[in-house]
Symmetry: C2
Subunit: 229 residues, 2 copies
């Protein structure tokens, strides 16, 4: 079997979720790390000509892009036997997992990023408030469960899995607070359960590197916004 | 078996795709039509408290929201035997269908809507140009095929299925032209194939009603924009 290849960048929460999935399935893979300071590689542009974004999974000559699409692909291609399932088995549970995964990306990831980028003051407060409302929905989903997937890590845990590690860094870079144990006790406990799993920890980018990267991205965005005509 | 219920509004392309899927599967269902002029119904607010949007499928006491999530649910719950599959069978083909469905919604639906809403002149030209670029990708996907799903209508046909009927109305309301036989011959041919299928036609909202609805929505949006502080 040709080895799987995964094109990533070093600080992308969308890439980390794919690494976790590959490890959960027990699959060998080679990481190809893009260095965006040098521009985008030929391989990336060829493999994902539409969006030109990481992650891209290369499997024996074919390329699959978009992180939630890749997760489903991995779950469908390597299933049964010793392969742990990522999505639940029942259609309704699968629909719920997909619904909340879409919600977590559209509302929580982009909600937090919006709050990060917002100007201090009223704009920031409003953006934080919007993000808090979204996290309150996720809090309800995890109440009384160890993982979103039940007793084991599943698809939705992987999609929401940026929260335990990346969110704190985004909060620090953006000068705001979203999650604490008091406001979101169940999400907080889930985050601790999640971070205790060794293969989850293995794929996390170092905190300092992540903070530098996000801080630099924010500065760049702000200076672009300030220089807008 | 409890009858399926589908909460819809009269002019929503996201609702029509679910009706098509239910008909393709040969399932009986009851339509519950929201009248947004009267506000949102209790049933809708209870069934989709997160987004408060149609379509919502009610299946024996559970509610499923978000149109692409509903399509996957329908395909997973009613499969095998006489039920025609919506998604392809092979993991890579499924990933491709999901990738392009996401693209068609994010880039084509919202691209066309953006072009509709854009001010005449440079803003409109730029928005139309962006939409054209997105449709050029879809054109490549359908080249040489009868349907996106191959010989039969599948998941991606349903997601892109607004193009043959709704797009012309959006073009008229928005004062622009996106699709013609010369620029996009394969999409044009596909649109004709698609519209010839009787069950597809059955669910389409009347053109006049659709045009009135879209024109009214655009006027409302423009007057809101004009009155912004």
């Amino acid at each position: 079997m040709a080895k799987l290849k995964l094109i990533v960048s070093t600080a992308s929460l969308f890439c980390t979720r794919i690494e976790w999935a590959l490890k959960l399935k027990g699959l060998e893979y080679e990481l190809i790390v893009e260095d965006f300071k040098q521009g985008k590689s030929e391989l990336l542009l060829k493999s994902n000509p539409v969006h030109k974004k990481v992650p891209v999974l290369l499997d024996d000559g074919v390329a699959i892009a978009e992180s939630k699409v890749i997760l489903e692909y991995i779950d469908e291609k390597w299933k049964g036997g010793d392969f742990c399932p990522l999505l639940p088995q029942e259609p309704y549970d699968r629909a719920q997992a997909r619904f909340w995964a879409q919600f977590a990306d559209e509302k929580c990831v982009f909600g937090v990023w919006g709050a990060c980028c917002a100007e201090d003051g009223q704009e920031k407060e409003k953006a934080v408030e919007t993000a808090l409302e979204s996290f309150a929905y996720l809090e309800k989903q995890i109440e009384g469960k160890k993982f979103f997937g039940g007793e084991k890590i599943g698809y939705l845990d992987l999609v929401a899995g940026w929260i335990p590690h990346f969110l704190g860094v985004l909060e620090e870079a953006g000068g705001m607070k979203i999650i604490d144990a008091e406001r979101f006790p169940s999400l907080h406990e889930w985050a601790q359960n999640f971070n205790e799993v060794p293969l989850i920890k293995e794929c996390l980018p170092p905190r300092d590197m992540l903070l530098n990267y996000i801080t630099a991205s924010l500065s760049k965005l702000r200076s672009l916004a300030a220089n807008k005509p």
